[in-house]
Symmetry: C3
Subunit: 201 residues, 3 copies
């Protein structure tokens, strides 16, 4: 589980660093945005659960990972032909991993399956929203042209919460859910799927 | 009190959903913005008070109300001739209710009347600020042309905090305060009242 | 220490009030932005540490200082020839003071030197980021042309955290660090120093 967590932190940190590079932030801004993107959602979840200080501040691994990811991205970013796409793909991976892990982290606190799923979604999308607000991008979460960004997150978190409540939870369900969220998001971007918007006069 | 709380959640959720519709968010973005607007201020207050997990995450009613409000708004929004005005009116109702309820929630934590009033204001305006930041609107709270947005909130929260400290508190005071905040805000919008700004060279 | 803390609150509150005046906010918006800028970083730190309710909400001095600073700025602001520069100078003073004090506040919670330094940086820059997000400015923290804004904050917080861990801590180190952070930032602005950005294709 820690391995998956570090993978999610890495994916989000890369998405944050790429955003910072696209915005011409300096090296410190790149590291900070990488760290905020990678740890913001989890810190928000832990603070809301009252699990303070958050894991991100007590275990050094969570803490050094974004720095490492930022350093790698700093030099490797030209490998990504189109920065925007790369940001979205890494972001999608982070969302998938953190939605599942965040929900699992919240369930034992007895907040009920629905709130636990909401905290999973917060863990999954919170860091990305902070990244976009700080970089003054329209948060992908609410971007009119966001190809079903939140749908896979919500559905994935609900799958985890419900299977857990029913006692059907098994690690493979988590892995499958992560893959589903990631794949759905990537396909939705490629195919430009849209969720319905309210009809206007 | 729970009835008033649900009413405030409903009002804020509608204001969030209408903002999302005005911004052409998809259905998921509408539900999320409705929920964040309705619960954001109260969650911030509870987290600051250390009352975690916040009520919004422990009682299902708080949680389903925004979803219901978003669903209703999704279909009913054309009833509102001018979305912007509708957002402001529902927002004003939410501010009035949450300023009073938020202050009452904070007072027993012994933070003193002034901080309790500040937490009441946070409860009242926090959700709307999150809504506007996520929707990339200028937060009404700090909009130069905001017709006395914060004044009624601050005054109302202070009335509750002071009467409580003096032992004069009675439920009717809360009801009157809610009505006053709401009415003052609506009249201020209609009459385009302005608070003084600093003079410029 | 409380004196330094109040000085930092004053500096940040002035920077917030000046920003609000530059944006033509009304008097209430000025007081609110002053308070959020002055107390936001510390509240975030305390909430993350689980030290709730935060000091800002329990001791009245922290609370009235921003109001006083806003009142003074409201009338005195024309004394500042160029508001933007004045904001940055007061902001730099606040960053220096809060980075050191925030790190010292976090260390006893046993989160380790690196996370403590990060919380010091959060204390130092958090309020300014909130100020800029609410005023819809590009946060100085991530502004491409921000002359080494975060570097002195990070370095200063690390100096405090490391000397503390090594048992070398002494108050004069804190004072020197505050002066260094402030001086470095001001000189960096005057000389238009830049930190390296990632190279682009």
């Amino acid at each position: 589980m820690t391995v998956l967590e570090l993978a999610g932190i890495f994916a989000f940190a890369v998405s944050g660093a790429l955003t910072a590079i696209r915005k011409d932030f300096d090296v410190v801004g790149i590291v900070l945005l990488a760290g905020i993107t990678a740890l913001g959602g989890g810190v928000a979840r832990d603070v809301i659960l009252g699990a303070t200080p958050p894991a991100a501040f007590t275990s050094l691994g969570y803490f050094l990972m974004p720095v490492a990811a930022a350093a790698i991205t700093f030099f490797a970013h030209p490998a990504f032909e189109r920065l925007t796409t790369a940001v979205l793909v890494f972001d999608a991976a982070g969302v998938g991993l953190f939605c599942v892990l965040g929900t699992l982290k919240a369930l034992p606190y007895g907040v009920g399956p629905l709130p636990a799923a909401a905290l999973g979604v917060l863990t999954g999308v919170g860091g990305g929203v902070l990244r976009d607000v700080l970089a003054r991008e329209v948060p992908a979460l609410v971007r009119p042209d966001a190809e079903l960004y939140a749908v896979p997150a919500v559905v994935g978190a609900l799958i985890v919460a419900v299977t857990w409540e029913l006692g059907w939870w098994a690690p493979w369900i988590g892995v499958v859910t992560v893959v589903l969220i990631f794949a759905f998001r990537v396909v939705a971007m490629a195919r430009k799927w849209r969720a319905p918007t309210a009809w206007r006069r």
